[in-house]
Amino acid sequence: MKKMFFYAGGAITIVLASCTTVKPYQKMYLNDAEMELRGRRVEKTETSFHLYREGASGANGGKAGGGCGCN
């Protein structure tokens, strides 16, 4: 568990250190609907059945447990 937090902390540090400032008028590609940084509505049922049929859940915008008769 400690290792996990160590790697997550390392990843955050690298991300913050290596980014560049992008101006609003330079965000044509980033603002594309298919560049969204989350699961899309059309993936909703897939996220649900993965929650039922697999032991792992969470960190994907879906539920991490509870709310349905699933794991």
Binding site: L30, R41, V42, E46, F49, E54, A56, S57, A59, N71
Partner: protein, 400 residues
């Protein structure tokens, strides 16, 4: 020459001025405060699975299941006196499913209540976005009901956007206070217990709490990513009461799992615009819990834009997990064990999920209907290493 240079400089400043943000005036700040419908989303899906390790029959028997799900979401918004955007999202969902294994809970009934069931799940989200401060506060509430399960959920969220709008930090916390009906396999019920469609089963609590933090970051003009870390804790009756376990000494019991579970998933999502027509969407998650599961999920979707309004998105997802400490197949669990399960969803396996999506978002609306702004259709085939296969088709329609 000086005059020409000054004229060019003047023109340059003029052009820059026309692109720059104008000063704050009353008319520039004006935003209608009337409640407006932002969009309507309708999602319909069909899911079908086949397998041979049903948990209700102790790890053997058909896992055949069909689920038809429909949800509709209405998003409304208005600006308040302080020009904060208040958004209200109302969602209602209904699932109809049939399950061969649930029918084996009480095979003596012609059609037990669980063989087919309807699940309804309304939810409401309310958020207040302060565009000047870059903050968004949100509240949500949800409800879900099916024959043997009732859930009541509530949550809170907070987002903060950096000044340059290239970084966002989101914090979320949710709680689900659920009730599980204690429906035992028919042969294990005490005398006088309810049967069939009677709904007088005793219930017990299953509570789930989770907190998550998400950091989204723009890396370049074509690359952005987000990191997600979540902590989820469940407490209460976490087994399924009707899941049989056939022990090695030829006796039968029901699934027994610990009364608490701590889950820690960490995810990374990275999207990259390759050239002008291709988007690479990738996702990785590491998951660990205190029941013994360690899992890796990795997925890659490649969106190819045939033109600005039509795109195709083939995708592949790979998943692998270790088993919980209490899993054993049919007739191999020890009767003396405190915890035991033959649910293959909690066994060691790996799976592949692949398919294709198509998205239409024409400028003049789908089929020329201006309000019909987007249509997305997606198909996927799922193949699990322990003989479970499924297919899912989903249609998403957006009206604006």
């Amino acid at each position: 020459m000086k005059k020409i240079s000054l004229a060019v400089l003047g023109m340059y400043i003029g052009i820059l001025g026309s692109f720059s943000q104008t000063g704050k005036t009353d008319s520039a700040n004006y935003k209608s405060r009337k409640l407006k419908l932002e969009e309507v989303n309708i999602v319909s899906s069909y899911y079908h699975q086949e397998g041979e390790h049903a948990a209700a029959t102790g790890g053997i028997g058909s896992e055949k299941l069909t689920d038809i799900a429909n949800t509709i979401e209405l998003k409304l918004y208005h600006y308040d006196k302080k020009y904060r955007k208040r958004t209200l999202s109302l969602e209602a969902g209904i699932d109809y499913y049939t399950s061969a294994s649930s029918d084996k809970i009480d095979p003596k009934t012609i059609s037990s209540a669980s063989a087919s069931d309807i699940r309804i799940y309304p939810s409401v989200n309310y958020s207040i976005e302060n565009e000047q401060k870059g903050t968004t506060w949100g509240l949500n509430a949800s409800f879900s009901k099916e024959f043997d399960y009732v859930s009541r959920g509530a949550g809170i969220s907070f987002s903060k956007l950096s000044k340059d709008k290239n970084r966002e930090l989101t914090l979320k916390a949710n709680a689900y206070l659920d009730r599980v009906s204690l429906i035992l396999p028919v042969e294990l019920r005490p005398a006088g217990s309810p049967r069939g469609d009677d709904n007088n089963y005793a219930t017990t609590a299953r509570n789930s709490y989770d907190a998550s933090v998400t950091l989204s970051q723009v890396m370049t003009q074509k690359f952005q990513l987000s990191l997600m870390a979540e902590l989820a804790f469940q407490k209460g009756f976490l087994s399924m009461p009707f899941n049989r376990v056939y022990f090695s000494n030829n006796t039968t019991g029901t699934e027994a799992l610990p009364g608490s579970r701590l889950k820690v998933p960490i995810g990374l999502r990275a999207n990259y615009f390759l050239g002008d027509r291709v988007i690479l969407r990738s996702y990785y998650r590491y998951y660990q819990d205190d029941w013994g599961i360690k899992a890796h999920t990795i997925s890659l979707e490649t969106t190819v834009k045939l033109n600005p309004f039509v795109s195709l998105s083939p995708f592949y997802r790979y998943y692998t997990q270790t088993a919980i400490d209490y899993f054993a197949p049919y007739k191999t669990n020890a009767a003396a064990s405190q915890y035991h399960s033959s649910d293959y969803d909690l066994s060691a396996f790996h799976s592949g999920f692949m398919g294709m999506g198509v998205r239409l978002a024409p400028e003049k609306g789908v089929f020329g209907m201006k309000k019909f702004s987007m249509l997305e259709l997606r198909y996927g085939h799922y193949n699990r290493s322990n003989a479970l296969q499924s297919d899912v088709v989903t249609l998403n329609i957006k009206l604006k």
